[in-house]
């Protein structure tokens, strides 16, 4: 079993696959996440690939303050992901509700719904900040190994 665990961590570090979920964001962060995948910033050089289904993903990248409608869907998607899994909260509204704090339709902050591993602040986050967050996440998993 030990060898298997090692293999899983190794593959996670070499090529973390991500799933992007919009839980009521204003789109600002979403386009910056996609931006990070395109030629100027190119997070694919860290082996990150955007995946279409939660069942293939290692990291759930969530933007938005979590609307009441989306909360249970977000949970379902998280539950469908295989272990080990991580959640990245992107943007001020993902971290704490940001500008939407106090709106009746939101449960401010992703950490009220899911355990979050990395918080990336900014409204919207800059692609450089996303890359920094990814690298920090990879480093922290490496440290635990």
């Amino acid at each position: 079993m030990k060898t298997f665990d090692k293999l899983v961590t190794w593959s996670l570090l070499k090529s973390p696959w991500i799933l992007h979920f919009n839980s009521g964001a204003c789109n600002g962060c979403d386009i910056e996440i996609v931006d990070a995948l395109t030629p100027k910033y190119d997070v694919e050089r860290f082996g990150m690939v955007l995946k279409a289904t939660p069942r293939h993903a290692d990291i759930l990248v969530v933007s938005g303050p979590v609307t009441r409608q989306q909360a249970k869907r977000l949970k379902t998607i998280y539950d469908q992901m295989p272990d080990p899994k991580f959640v990245m909260a992107v943007g001020a509204c993902g971290c704490s509700g940001g500008v939407f704090n106090g709106c009746y339709g939101v449960i401010p902050g992703i950490d009220k719904t899911l355990p979050v591993s990395v918080y990336i602040p900014g409204c919207p986050v800059r692609p450089e900040a996303i890359i920094d967050g990814v690298v920090k996440l990879i480093r922290s998993v490496e440290g635990k190994k």
Partner: protein
Amino acid sequence: MSKITIPLGPQHPALKEPENFMLVLEGEQISGATVNLGYNHRGMEKAAEERTYIQDLYLLERVCGICSHSHTTCYITNVEELAKCETPKRALAIRTLVAELERVHSHLLWLGVAGYEMGFETLFMYTWRDREQVLDCLELISGNRVHYSINTIGGVRRDITAEQKAEVLKRIDYLAERTSYYIKLATEEATVLARTQNVGKLPYDVAIERGAIGPTARASGVARDVRKDEPYLLYSELDFKLITADSCDVFGRLVVRALELVESYKMIRQVLNNLPEGPIAVKVPMRIPAGEAVNRYEAPRGEDIHYLKSNGTDKPERVKVRAPTLANLQSVAYMLEGGWLADVPLVIAAIDPCMSCTDRAVVWDPKKGRKQTYGWEDLRKLAIEQYRRRGVDFTRL
């Protein structure tokens, strides 16, 4: 063949945002489609009533991250109308400039997404790389890449220097060159033509009947553009063409947006080369006089309408936003029907949906006792009257 109903969304790889389509399928063909909204509903209009006018500026900017300038400009025009403030001409010019830069960024973004949905990933990577040039321009002018916050009540926050002007013009030249390549690609590439022609048909009559707006309507031959119909900012002084296409399909929408890019470059150059001199903002008191105002704005996706009611305090009594995607969704349902399942993502992407804008609508009951009913005819008359007062006459149409 028996019918089956499949849900598409709220989380689906083809959709960048949460929305849900219920598709009734007969084999591979779609025989019915309904749209479900509300996954993105945050309650911003209510929140806007609890914040001051200046705070609302930053809240309403976050209605949408792609057309943030559209929403703030439309909102601020209302506020300034109520406050009876004379916005300096230079500020209007800077707002126009940012508005057109925003259109360029939004259309390039769309072109990439459409390419991606077609399976043409190279196009996606190309356009998004070029889009960075516009974002750099916006960052140069306003300090931010996405939420520019250039507007402030009474004018704009920042002035444009000669160096900034030169830098923006340089980047626009580069983009104009790239865009001519995209236009060639969109109109000549065999795969693009095969994927887009005769897909997602929206005939002229249906576009009118379902109230399509923006590039979606213009691609069905409907010459509808707020910048021409009811010019705001500096548009009445600018020289630009209203682009339409009559193929009524995804191809038409592609061509309209690509050609609009060229028009936007033209306008950006005109604005920058004729920047009026003067101050960039005037002071406006915190309390806005009581009254009501409605304004329209041509956002990249179509007509955006803002309503504002003030009660004389420093907080608005009611803010109402009608974002363009809401008007276009009925057309999507029509476009999907009779089409093939495989074309669904492309057809949906073709109206450039923006759910974060749209999902604020709530059904609202008028206060009991003070209910006033308007028939369709009354409403029409009311609208005609109001517009005639503003100098726009629709009766001749």
